[in-house]
C-alpha cells in the first residue's frame, strides 16, 4: 500500500534531456495510466520509478521514503515488461515463485503463493511448462502472475498488451481491471493506446516530448482538454480542428462560415483560434440527438461515408479542412451530397491557434 510522488524529476542521456522536470502524485490504490506518442518518455519515467534508470534530478517517493538511491529490489515494486521478460530456463511455476525464492521464503509459503496467483490468472494447468511452450496471451498472464505473487506496493506495467492481437487485448484489458479490483494496489501503467488509457485509468497522465501535458480522470481529459494536443490525442476519431478568427463573439472560419464562440470560452477580438469539435457533436439535421440550448448549424459537402451499423461516420469538408461527423439512424448518403449539420456548441472547444492552449474563460 503506497503512494508515489515524483518531484521535479529530470532525465538526461548525456547532453540530451528526455524528461523535463515532471511532477506527479499518485494516490494509494490508484490506477494511473501514462499515455503519449512514441518517444515521449513514458517508459523512461516508469523505469525511473522502478529504479532501472537513474534519475538525473528531482526526487521520487514511494510511500513516505525517497527512493532515489534504492536499487529496484529494495523498492517493493513489480513490473510487467512489454516483452514479458519471462525466464526461459524456468517453468511457469519457477517463474512465478522466483521472487519469493530469492527472498528465501519457506517452500510451503512459495507453493501457496504460486498456487494462489495461478488460480487468479487461470494458469494452473500450465504450471509445469516452460515459457517457450506458451502462447502470447498465456505468457502475458504469467508475467502478470509473477508480478502479483509478492504483493508489492506498486505495480508497473510497460505496454503489457501491445504484443497481443486486438481481440486478446480487449480481453486482457478487462482482466487487468478485474485484477486491480482484486489485489487493490497502486498501479502505474504505460501505453500509447488512448483507448486502453481511457478504459483502465482512474487518472490519465498525457505526456508529450518529456513534458506532462495534462493529468485528469478519463472523462475530465476527454471533456476539458487543456490544449489541441490532448484534444486530438484522446478520443476516437480525433477531434476536428478548424482554423478561424474571432469577430463579434463568433468564430469566422476561412470560408466565411461563422460559428458562435462555445460557451465557457473567451477570445480577444481578431484572435487566431482553432475551433474543436468531436464527431459525436456534429450530426446531420434529422439524424442527431435532440437539440440542446446551444446549437449552431453549418453546411458541408460529404465526401466519404463509413457505415458502422448503428451509426455512420461521415467525412465532410469545411473551410479546406476535413471534418468527421456522426449520423444516427443512418440512411444511405451519396458522395458529394450537401447536408446541414447541427453542432452542439456546449461540447465544442476553442484553442489559441499559436500556442494550442484552451481559451477557457
Amino acid at each position: 500500500m503506497a503512494q508515489v510522488h515524483l518531484r521535479d524529476v529530470v532525465k538526461n542521456y548525456g547532453p540530451l534531456e528526455v524528461v523535463h522536470s515532471i511532477n506527479l502524485d499518485i494516490a494509494d490504490n490508484e490506477f494511473v495510466v501514462l499515455v503519449g506518442p512514441s518517444g515521449c518518455g513514458k517508459s523512461t519515467t516508469l523505469r525511473m520509478i522502478a529504479g532501472l534508470e537513474e534519475i538525473s534530478g528531482g526526487e521520487i517517493f514511494i510511500g513516505d521514503n525517497v527512493v532515489n538511491d534504492l536499487p529496484p529490489r529494495e523498492r517493493n515494486i513489480s513490473m510487467v515488461f512489454q516483452n514479458y521478460a519471462l525466464y526461459p530456463h524456468m517453468t511457469v511455476r519457477e517463474n512465478l515463485g522466483f521472487s519469493l525464492k530469492i527472498a528465501k521464503r519457506p517452500q510451503a509459503e512459495i507453493d501457496k503463493a504460486v498456487d494462489e496467483a495461478a488460480e487468479i490468472l487461470s494458469l494452473t494447468p500450465l504450471l509445469d511448462r516452460k515459457p517457450g511452450a506458451l502462447s502470447g496471451g498465456q505468457r502475458q498472464r504469467v508475467a502478470m502472475g509473477r508480478a502479483i505473487v509478492r504483493h508489492p506496493d506498486v505495480f508497473l506495467f510497460d505496454e503489457p498488451l501491445s504484443n497481443l492481437d486486438a481481440k486478446l487485448r480487449t480481453q486482457m484489458r478487462v482482466e487487468i481491471k478485474k485484477l486491480h479490483q482484486k489485489v487493490r494496489s497502486t498501479i502505474v501503467y504505460v501505453t500509447h493506446d488512448q483507448v486502453e488509457a481511457m478504459t483502465l485509468a482512474d487518472r490519465i497522465v498525457i505526456m508529450r516530448d518529456g513534458h506532462i501535458e495534462q493529468i485528469g480522470t478519463p472523462l475530465d481529459v476527454f471533456e476539458n482538454p487543456v490544449n489541441t494536443f490532448v484534444a486530438t490525442f484522446i478520443g476516437s476519431p480525433p477531434m476536428n480542428l478548424l482554423n478561424g478568427v474571432v469577430r463579434d463573439g463568433a468564430v469566422v472560419l476561412e470560408d466565411g462560415t461563422t460559428v458562435p464562440v462555445p460557451p465557457g470560452y473567451q477570445a480577444r477580438e481578431g484572435q487566431a483560434v482553432q475551433l474543436g469539435m468531436r464527431a459525436d457533436n456534429v450530426m446531420p439535421v434529422g439524424h442527431s440527438l435532440p437539440p440542446t440550448e446551444h446549437m449552431a448549424q453549418i453546411e458541408m459537402d460529404v465526401n466519404l461515408t463509413e457505415p458502422l451499423g448503428t451509426e455512420t461516420l461521415l467525412f465532410a469538408e469545411l473551410a479546406g479542412a476535413e471534418v468527421q461527423a456522426k449520423m444516427l439512424n443512418p440512411r444511405p448518403v451519396e458522395a458529394g451530397e450537401r447536408m446541414t449539420f447541427q453542432v452542439m456548441l456546449d461540447k465544442c472547444h476553442l484553442f489559441d491557434a499559436e500556442s494550442g492552449a484552451a481559451l477557457r474563460g
Partner: protein
C-alpha cells in the same frame, strides 16, 4: 499422366543425386579418420602395402602395446603427454571462458569508450597466424624462463582463445534481452545474482560451445607447442606424435594409435556437451 510420371522420375533422380552428394561429402570427412583408426590396429606391412588394402586381414593391438611399452621398444610416454595435454587444455579453456564471459558480457551490455576499436583489435589478433609468433614467443619465454612449462603453454593458449571466446559469448549475451536481468532485479536480485540466476543459465549453451572450441583448439594445437615445449615436462600429445618419427623411418602404426587416443577424449567431450547445446538453444522467454 505422362507429365506426372516424368515428374516422379525426375524427383527420384534428384533424390539419388542428393544421396550421392552426401555420400561424397561424408567420404571426404570420414575416410581419413577411418583410415587412421584402421591403421592403428593393423600390422605395418599392411599399412604400407601397395595397392592399399581396404579390407584388413588381421587386426591386433600391437601398436598400442608397443606404445605403452618400454622406451627401447618403440614406446613413448603416452600417459605423461596425455596428462600434459589435459592440464594445459583444461586450464587454458577454463581461464579463456572466464575472461570470455566477463569480456563478452561487457561488450554485450555496457557502453564504454573505444568499444568498437577494442573489438576490432581483438579480432585482428586472430588474423596473425600462430606460427608467425612462435619465434618471438620462444625468445621471450626463454628469457623469462617459462619455456617448456605448463604455465607457458597455458598462457599461450589463453591468449589464442580469448578473442574468440569473447566474440562468441558476446553474441550469445546479445541475444538475451536486457529486460530479463531487469526483471530479476525487480524480483529481488542484486546485479550479480541477476547474472548468475538468469543470464548465465540462459547463455549456458552458448558458453559451453565456446568452451568446446577453446578446448579443441588447445587440445589439437601443434605449431606453437612444437616450438615451446621441449621435453616430457610439457610436451602435448600432438607434439608427441613426432616421437614416432626417426631419422629414416616413420612408425605409421604407432602414430595412428596415438592419434586415436587423442581423438577419443575430444569426441567424448563433444558428445557430452552437445546434448546440452541442443537442450539450451530453445529460447522462448520473450515474445515470439
Amino acid at each position: 499422366m505422362a507429365s506426372n510420371a516424368a515428374h516422379r522420375t525426375r524427383r527420384r533422380a534428384l533424390k539419388w543425386l542428393h544421396f550421392f552428394g552426401l555420400f561424397l561429402a561424408m567420404m571426404v570427412l570420414c575416410v581419413p579418420g577411418l583410415w587412421v583408426v584402421l591403421n592403428s590396429f593393423r600390422p605395418t606391412v599392411e599399412i604400407m602395402a601397395k595397392p592399399p588394402v581396404w579390407i584388413p586381414n588381421e587386426l591386433n593391438l600391437d601398436h598400442y602395446r608397443a606404445m605403452f611399452g618400454g622406451v627401447g621398444e618403440g614406446g613413448v610416454p603416452v600417459l605423461t603427454y596425455f596428462r600434459n595435454s589435459l592440464i594445459i587444455s583444461v586450464t587454458s579453456t577454463v581461464i579463456a571462458l572466464l575472461v570470455g564471459m566477463s569480456g563478452g558480457y561487457a561488450f554485450a551490455r555496457f557502453r564504454f569508450k573505444g568499444k568498437a576499436w577494442i573489438f576490432v583489435g581483438l579480432m585482428c589478433t586472430r588474423a596473425v597466424p600462430g606460427v608467425a609468433l612462435s619465434l618471438p614467443l620462444f625468445i621471450i619465454f626463454a628469457r623469462v624462463g617459462i619455456i617448456d612449462t605448463h604455465f607457458g603453454m597455458i598462457l599461450t593458449y589463453v591468449a589464442m582463445n580469448v578473442p574468440f571466446t569473447i566474440w562468441l559469448i558476446d553474441g550469445f549475451f546479445r541475444q538475451i534481452p536486457p529486460s530479463l536481468a531487469e526483471a530479476a532485479q525487480i524480483d529481488g536480485c542484486t546485479r550479480w545474482q541477476a547474472f548468475w540466476q538468469v543470464e548465465f543459465p540462459v547463455a549456458k549453451a552458448g558458453i559451453a560451445s565456446a568452451g568446446i572450441f577453446a578446448f579443441l583448439t588447445s587440445w589439437n594445437e601443434y605449431a606453437l607447442a612444437s616450438q615451446l615445449t621441449r621435453s616430457v615436462t610439457s610436451k602435448t600429445m600432438p607434439v608427441g606424435l613426432l616421437d614416432f618419427q626417426a631419422e629414416f623411418t616413420l612408425n605409421w602404426g604407432g602414430m595412428c594409435a596415438l592419434a586415436v587416443l587423442m581423438i577419443i577424449p575430444a569426441l567424448i567431450l563433444t558428445f557430452l556437451v552437445q546434448k546440452h547445446l541442443i537442450a539450451g538453444l530453445t529460447f522462448g522467454g520473450v515474445k515470439g
